[in-house]
Amino acid sequence: MAEFTMPSLGADMDEGTLQEWLVRPGERIRRGDPVAVVETAKSTIEVECFETGTVGELLVEPGRTVPVGTPLALIETDREEPEKPGRKPPRRRGPKATPPPKVVPPPPHEPAPAGDRELAVDLPPEGRVPHEAVPLVRRLARERGVDLGALHGSGPHGRITRSDVERAAARRPRPPITPLARRLAGELGVDLATVTGTGRHGAVRADDVRKAAAGRAAAPVSGHAEPARTADDRAVAMRRTIAGLMARSKRDIPHYYLSTTVDMAAAMGWLRDYNRRSPVGERLLPAALLLKAAALAVREVPALNGFWTEDRFTEGDGVHLGVAVSLRGGGLVAPALHDADRLPLPELMSRLKDLVTRVREGRLRGSEVSDPTITVTNLGDQGVESVLGVIYPPQVALIGFGRVVDRPCAVDGLLGVRPTVTATLSADHRATDGAIGARCLAEVDRRLRHPEEL
């Protein structure tokens, strides 16, 4: 049994709000599947799972804000004992805000007032909480497939007793469900309790599940969590987070800055030629070339690609380019383009488009937020000529690109008008010195002069 916990999606995050569950108990998930939507001070993020297995109990209800590290759900991992045939995935229960309160069943012969007082804390005045049952009863209910919420307890204070469960189990024989149907139900997200079986003895079969899934797809999807905060609140919170982070960066990181002007004639010519031959949907923006050149450059100069933590530099496990994307409502995020140095340009372009779209929709994945090894900021489309950025800690460098602009330029001893771009580097002087930074910018320059090799 593994715990799915509130992740830390940035150096500055210490709590997060669970907005929405993307899985349901009993559902099969693979490592990397998005599990939940978490809202942080900066944005709304889809969080992936690090285990492969079956979703067990969901411990936290959407809308709640919990500290980083709080268990959100239990996941039965595949490494555990193989599932016993016929064992049901945990039943879905009704809404439940907290883990079941620790309740000791009062021995019936002990009417001590102290016991009553204790109970008064645990139980609402009505005296009966549907799901309140001792572990043995809960286990029995799970085994027999009895929904505790539908039972009337006959025990003290309306508690559900073991015999209540057994009676209910005897009254309502569990319709058989074929293994394939069960598997499909998990895959398609169909609640088996709602499926009527057409097989022998009313067995639920694969076809029944498929029909149920088709019917459900037609119905509108509901149940999205109420946004926990208003947009204004969020903007304020994001501003505050950025403020803290950038202040920390400027305070702690001794920045040094380098800049160089890159002749983009070859790159722009190549791009024009490429785009003329490509369908509209597959055309490249200059940004794709700049990002790829930056990714290849830091691969050559790995001292800039990684993190400064605990007074030492740790190299990143790949070139995950943080791409700074400004949000419409203000603020910005810099999610990762994973392994950008190895992406062919068309792939990089489509990943970039996808990333920007999802940033604007607030649908980032956790790994995209926490993984970047170096940030690239490209303010060219805003018209600026150069950008001297502030490093995103604990990263150690940031590459900035300005607008591609025609400038008078000395070429082969003559004055010519050439498209150029100003590339800058902000780097952490604790991790590297100017010479290393210069190598990186020179590499960016060299790469952009040979666009066909990008």
Binding site: P85, A203, A206
Partner: protein, 331 residues
Amino acid sequence: MGTSRTDERKTTYREALREALREAMRSDDRVFLMGEDVGRYGGCFGVSLGLLEEFGPERVRDTPLSESAFVGAGIGAALAGMRPIVEIMTVNFSLLALDQILNNAATLLHMSGGQLPVPLVIRMTTGAGRQLAAQHSHSLEGWYAHIPGIRVIAPATLEDARHMLAPALADPDPVLIFEHGVLYNASGEIGPPAASADLDHAAVRRSGTDISLITYGGSLPKVLMAADELAVDGISAEVVDLRTLRPLDGETIAASVTRTHRAVVVDEAWRTGSLAAEVSARIAEGSFYDLDAPVERVCGAECPMPYARRLEEAALPQPSDVVAAAHRAVD
């Protein structure tokens, strides 16, 4: 047309086996045949008819009525470098040689640390359907399939009867060939060797999408008939012929069940502890989450095989039983 294809002439299962024996003896001097009545009588089921005349008494040897002795002699010959083919009349009699097969043939390679392979081929008849009663009619190949160290094959088609002997002889381990008695008279044209004459793979004899009918040997023709009937009812049945009972080709079984999500295992042997039980268990182990119905088994009645014709029919899996089981799984 002046030419005819010589490999597609009309023949029988019996003749196919004989042709395979003849080819084996012609191509390798080390191959010889021995068993009760294989020489002058031409084999109890007529498989070796004419081989004595062609190859002489040195290579087609009649043996006394002593299964343990002549199977043991075969093991000795194999150890000495020969390639013996030993014929035991029926599987019931083979139990007299079980000690030789299990304690010697199957174990020597292991116990000698890999120094003593036993390249022996043992042929025997199995199965019921010819009114030969309890002592000649049982299907005990599942018992042999239980033994590690030997290979157990069950050719069900003319092609397999013709083409499985050569790889069996080439196998360094003892190979038991089970020939179902009702198949000997099966006739038809022999096509090229089935997909793999390598003895390692089951064969899908008919493709289908709704249910897998898994069987072998003498039950294959009945199961194919059942599949025809099911097709009339609109049920598309896939027929898997196991061909090799040990080692079982679990992958082909699993692949078929993954396609169809339902399985009927047909085995003429007694149900309890049968090969059908092994196949069903494998499906449960490996393909549980692909099953959309319980695995059905159609097996022989758990009684000594009756002599009376109607009773014998009743004791054996019939196409109608397979059809009924398939309907239980699909409907």
